[in-house]
Symmetry: D2
Subunit: 308 residues, 4 copies
């Protein structure tokens, strides 16, 4: 007990900065403390020049308005793995489509009649699919050259007319950040490819080629950090790259899934030590909080405190 | 759709203020939006001069370092209902006891040997009970005069040697904020009273007298707002005061419980409309987030923006 | 690993018995295994003649149709602690009131107009309060003699005209099962008492007298088992009786709350070892599942297998 | 209210059958009622001869001992979509590997030293990867002919020496059940393919070919039911097949994810109506429960009651 730090009751002050709030959260308990610790560990990842950072992204974060936060995080990211949904919604916005503040307390039949798709309390017009159709139609000759999801996604990024701080896909292309999407078929982008294939056009994306790239990169770089926003395929895909190379030295996980149900999405990072995915000496923290709240706090802190 | 607001992707800026982050969260989706809306509704409660504010507090928030946040909230509170645990931990700190940053990944048998009580990742020495014993022993003559939990808790507050910004109990006493604890027996303070009664001392706290006070107050004041931090008895006790007077016009609820399991703690505020606890025209929001994260954000916003 | 049991994939068979399903669940993983283990531990509590069983009940289980299950459990119960809500709903049913299968997807304003109170997907007519009023009015002279919640609740039970397998309150009275409700004020029964007090009638329930009873009983009986259905005050009230006597040797907890948020309701039973509430050599299991599913499974198993 | 059914308090009886328990749960509230309704809807899917059933499976269900349950469900399944993990663990068991009953309360560093991988409370020896290696090594010439994940998975199934009631993969192959795994790269099977590709062997699995198959099948069959065990890619992949064909008429979803956080895994089925994934006149139910508990109950009921 002598070595234990006392809890320091948090004092909120008028005009308090986000980074100071997160700093003070380090001295609390429960999930606020986890936020503080995640901020600290992310800062350390940023400051460790040898550390390569792998970011896994799941959940409908782009529709909820997290696009620019993720673009900020990409400035410090070496490998980016995402669900197809986030990339599709990013593409939709880059093509001029919008997401709206709706409500979870609505008659979904009414929305269907009005051509509105619901994502909890976010609405999207189903006509955005026309924009996607047009984009794939116009650019097919260029897109069909892709052989991997990474190439395809970079190509999509290269064709976008927005600035790199307005689109995840554009950002990844311009900054040459490797971007993987193991289940791209499971998304609106996948549907566009299916649509074109159905009309007789050809494209061959090798389902396993990206694995080689991510595992090779994980092998070459012995110091690694992982950032999991949600679980799903992105987390697991990075985890297995760690397992088949060397374990990660840093890790933060933001999820509302729970370990009690046994799935990978809710598993605490500590479990990864048994598999050799996480280093025994590593610094890890699990944050049980909606990522739309936790990520802005954690990232604000780490970006502001890095190199200090 | 014409009337819908587009989601505005959040941009975090160096040196950003907490209140500006919460302001921007209003334009997002999912739980970040709920944080923004809760900030706004709390500000409106503060600004509405006719509105009387009822705060219900459950969960081990004092051990986690939320004491001063709650004291700040008490500045705007007209009726305060708490679990006994929070008040006991407040009293422990007022008597010089401490809470420490521990770990949830420990051998609880080891802690037991060392005389340490664990509250998730917070530790407390079990010797704090001696301080409680001493306090009740020394002050029994004064305390035994109390006839209701409110009187008892105010008396305890009056006897504390700390400043009012260091203790919830002291604050309530000095500011004459009615404080109710319907299950006070279920707490360390209750144990102290039991201990004294067991040694033949006498005290008579009427289990139902506080109800009269809270319902009378709720009757007299037609405009009311409720703030639920956690569920449990405090939420339900305030809810029934609304049901048996007039419904609340404002409400925010911060909880990680879920409505699917049917308990009062997880019930969405909207359910209260059926019971006449919440007004049909009221402004309500449910925030699904650990209170140690959500409360500092929401309260920072409301305190900074009030009267603006 | 040599001592580890392999998972035995579950085989469902036509006409399978509930107790056989729970038996087979012992050989699975995740929460099914916890169900199996809880069944086994509850059976062991039932079989251990020295073991006194303390049951804590929270959540709206009576409205959901769990009344008879709880009455079955009371056959094996030595001390029963409940929220006021469950007892109020039990009383309502004993007086002829009903709960209905409603829906969570409704307009609560409409329900309010129709005089219907909603509890997630369960409906109740608000006119049941008239039956409560009548009951308290007619029986006040008898009820006002009570000095503790236990006496009051037994008196209510004694006045009911239903059989003991139709009412928790009747059952507790007839079988002389000590029943405690530390926050009785926080319930419909509490409201009835408030209503009578408001009309000038008198009753004095000592808020702390029950503590003496439960702690004395916990002291006298060194072998104890705890069964927590939900958390809240009932769990905590029993936990502190263990802490201030001797720790429990058996424990099962059914809750959907999570430990990550630090509250007592979600705390794993293991945490109680640090406090001296649970024995280091005890047998404990936490089940993360809605009690309306878990309790029938666990109890069916334990009742059928006991004494075998 | 006149049309509402009263809740019928559940009575557990000695020797009660699982199917009778689920039948009685239909008359309860909360999640027990959802179990009853899910059993009924699944039975209706089974009985509706025109209805084609799409099953999506996520979460580590095979390690937890759900393999045979899923094989039973496959008897009624027309399209099966799974995460790679479940198929990998099925393959491991088919090759003689085992899963063990471990504990979530262990030192993961110790497990790592002993070569044990942990999945919550389930253990697996990491040496199982050698069996996988051997299998892929020996059978590569056959496996490399596959052009889609379905072909590859059927080929794997065809090569297994176990009976079809011992392996999901064998069952799908023998019964010619289309099986899709959009993120197969994200699994142990994926790692084996990567390993062989890394050693210069060739295989070309088209990442988008399966989409054509599932959407074509969904187009041709206008009456469809969906069964989601967990969320993730399997749910979403089936959902988009519904969106781009015709909406599903029946649906059951078993998940512990919550809608409040906006992800597809936790979204209630009702949300799918807005997208045209679910029919407005459809019969749907969401069950909030660990699938290791809910699935055996629901499936036992539906298999026993079908054609009655």
């Amino acid at each position: 007990m002598d070595t234990l730090e006392p809890i320091k009751p948090l004092n909120i002050k008028r005009g308090m900065k986000v980074s100071d709030l997160v700093e003070d959260m380090k001295s609390l308990g429960f999930q606020a403390r986890k936020i503080g610790e995640a901020g600290e560990i992310l800062k350390e990842m940023f400051d460790d020049e040898k550390c390569k950072i792998f970011v896994g992204l799941a959940g409908a974060l782009v529709p909820a308005g997290m696009k620019k936060i993720i673009i900020s995080l990409l400035d410090e990211t070496d490998v980016f793995v995402s669900t197809g949904a986030n990339l599709t919604h990013d593409l939709i916005e880059a093509l001029g489509g919008k997401h709206y503040q709706g409500s979870e307390l609505v008659d979904d039949s009414e929305l269907n009649k009005e051509g509105i798709d619901r994502i909890y309390d976010v609405f999207m017009k189903s006509e955005v699919y026309e924009k996607l159709d047009d984009f794939f139609d116009k650019n097919w000759q260029e897109l069909e050259k892709a052989k991997t999801t990474k190439e395809l996604l970079w190509k999509i990024g290269s064709l976008l007319k927005v600035k790199k701080d307005e689109s995840i896909l554009k950002k990844c292309y311009e900054e040459k950040i490797p971007i993987f999407c193991p289940a791209l078929a499971d998304s609106g982008i996948g549907l566009m490819i299916w649509g074109n294939k159905a009309r007789g056009k050809e494209i061959f994306i090798d389902a396993f080629e990206d694995m080689k790239k991510i595992i090779d990169f994980a092998w070459k770089n012995k110091k690694k950090g992982v950032v999991y926003i949600g679980g799903g395929v992105p987390k697991n895909f990075i985890q297995q790259a760690m397992q088949f190379s060397t374990p990660a030295s840093y890790g933060i996980q933001i999820t509302t899934d729970k370990e009690e149900y046994g799935g990978s999405s809710g598993a605490k990072l500590k479990e990864g030590i048994s598999w050799g995915k996480m280093s025994q000496e590593g610094k890890f923290v699990n944050v049980s909080c909606d990522a739309t709240i936790a990520l802005p706090l954690i990232l604000s802190y780490a970006l502001e405190k890095k190199d200090k």
